[in-house]
């Protein structure tokens, strides 16, 4: 006969990993269900987007950049990772209403699974970036490997925001519309298709330092396009933003968590 034990923390973690695995698979599959090209779209999407933007902006804003398409795409996929992780996480708790009222699920699994899905999409976009670099004859350097130690900082940052957003959305459904506008503003305030020098305003350049996405985009471009390993300072800044936001988000989420079920 089986001995019956109370459910431990370790069991919960193991269970969470099974759920994450299954959810991430399902969400990636469902994105491309019924499309002829299927997962190929994950690579094609950033490529085509980049092509459109390059077509529109290269004459206008492209001067002074060694390779405009690479510049665009590298910025876009970094911003895109944050955008997908946070905007899909926003509704994650409310969307899973049916599940949460029936089975005991650790709530943090939901924003976490959306963030991991965004990471998988990023991996495909990265292939697109490599293709562009090959086509445009951009020199590859070993510094590209720095992506691996760099990504966790961005993921922590995104996850922190995701925690805050999905909590707020439980209480205020307006968050979806508000965050949509915020994201657009944020995108234009981050030098994705222009350079900071182009702004020609020292005050703006200074203020830009306080935009965490600027820090992440700059770091990533440095290892991709300049082929150098960024300074220790850049690492510290990226991780400070990441860990800071993650902790704030997690605490906020934990503080409200037990009331979720009463509000969704």
């Amino acid at each position: 006969m089986r001995t019956i034990l109370p459910v431990t923390k370790l069991d919960t973690i193991r269970k969470s990993s099974y759920i994450l695995n299954s959810m991430v698979r399902n969400s990636i599959r469902s994105q491309y269900r019924n499309s002829i090209l299927g997962v190929l779209w994950t690579v094609l999407n950033p490529l085509l987007n980049m092509a459109v933007m390059a077509l529109v902006f290269s004459k206008l804003l492209g001067s002074g950049i060694s390779d405009y398409p690479t510049y665009l795409l590298s910025g876009n996929i970094i911003f895109g990772l944050m955008r997908q992780a946070t905007s899909t996480s926003l509704t994650s708790i409310v969307d899973s209403f049916g599940m949460l009222t029936k089975v005991k699920v650790p709530y943090s699994v939901l924003p976490l699974s959306r963030t991991i899905t965004a990471l998988v999409t990023f991996a495909f976009s990265f292939i697109a970036l490599v293709i562009v670099m090959l086509v445009r004859n951009v020199k590859f350097s070993f510094s590209i490997l720095m992506t691996i130690p760099f990504l966790p900082s961005l993921l922590l940052f995104s996850l922190g925001i995701a925690f805050i957003l999905c909590t707020l959305y439980v209480y205020f459904r307006d968050m979806k519309h508000i965050y949509g506008v915020v994201l657009t503003l944020w995108m234009y305030m981050t030098p994705l298709f222009y350079t900071v020098d182009r702004l020609g305003n020292p005050l703006l350049t200074k203020l830009m330092q306080f935009n965490p996405m600027y820090q992440y985009v700059t770091y990533f471009r440095e290892i991709i396009m300049m082929g150098t390993v960024p300074s220790l300072e850049s690492h510290l800044i990226c991780y400070a933003w990441g860990i800071g936001f993650f902790l704030i988000g997690l605490l906020f989420f934990k503080w409200r968590r037990k009331y979720f079920i009463l509000h969704i």
Partner: protein, 293 residues
Amino acid sequence: MEAQVFYTSYLIMAKIEKEKNELNLTIPSQEEFTNDNKELLENFEKEEVLIDIQNVSMVYHLASEKVDNLKEFVIKLIKRKLKYREFWALKDVNLAVRKGESLGLLGLNGAGKSTLLKVIAGVIVPSFGSVEIKGTIAPLINLGAGFDMQATARENVFLNGALLGHSKKSMLQKYDRIVEFAELESFMNVPLKNFSSGMLTRLGFSIAVDVNPDILLVDEVLAVGDAPFRKKCFARINELKENGTTYIIVSHSIEQILQLCTNAIWLDGGKMVMAGDAKTVCNAYTDFCNEKK
């Protein structure tokens, strides 16, 4: 501890019987009683308490009007118009379910049966009181607990398995059995949104009983599904019972409770009215329902 409880309940029972039938009973002292029923007590105490619920109350603050956007919230906050109405879904419920026990929950609509199940499932944390659970729980609450309607039935088997704490690998071993039991072989690659409610129940039931939970929670699901499948479900539940699975069933069918459960409790207005063996509670509840009419 258990002996004490047993003796007290015996005393009460004896008193009632005595008054009712004017019997000349000599009531034994506690020691005598414990000695006489030693074997019974020991057997009973051997079984572990899997679900221990003490003084559990659940209170909801129902907003008189639902406020879920920022503008309304701020306006109402300023005007101090955020009024709440209290609703006690459960009030001071005590319950201990031992291993191998089968418990039926009876009560009218809104009596707190589903809330109690949700408290046991760990989905909601009660406002007051303590809940201690040992072992794994498979909830079968409404249709498809935790199904992703966009995904196919096959994907959902693995997702549901994960929600119940099983890895993909262990679900692969169970997969064929689950599909066979649900009799849905030719529909496994169809998205769940195209499933009928009967098919959803079949799938949900088949998964929940195949993951071998320590505790199975069943809420009103047996009403769905056609007669042959229902029969199969009953047989499976009885099989689980013999294997020592503990289960709790919510049903409006007295017949089902009598058939599947040894014990029952009756809830009304969030309070426990009666607890005891299924037959006694069912009879009292039926009387109550008839009176109401």
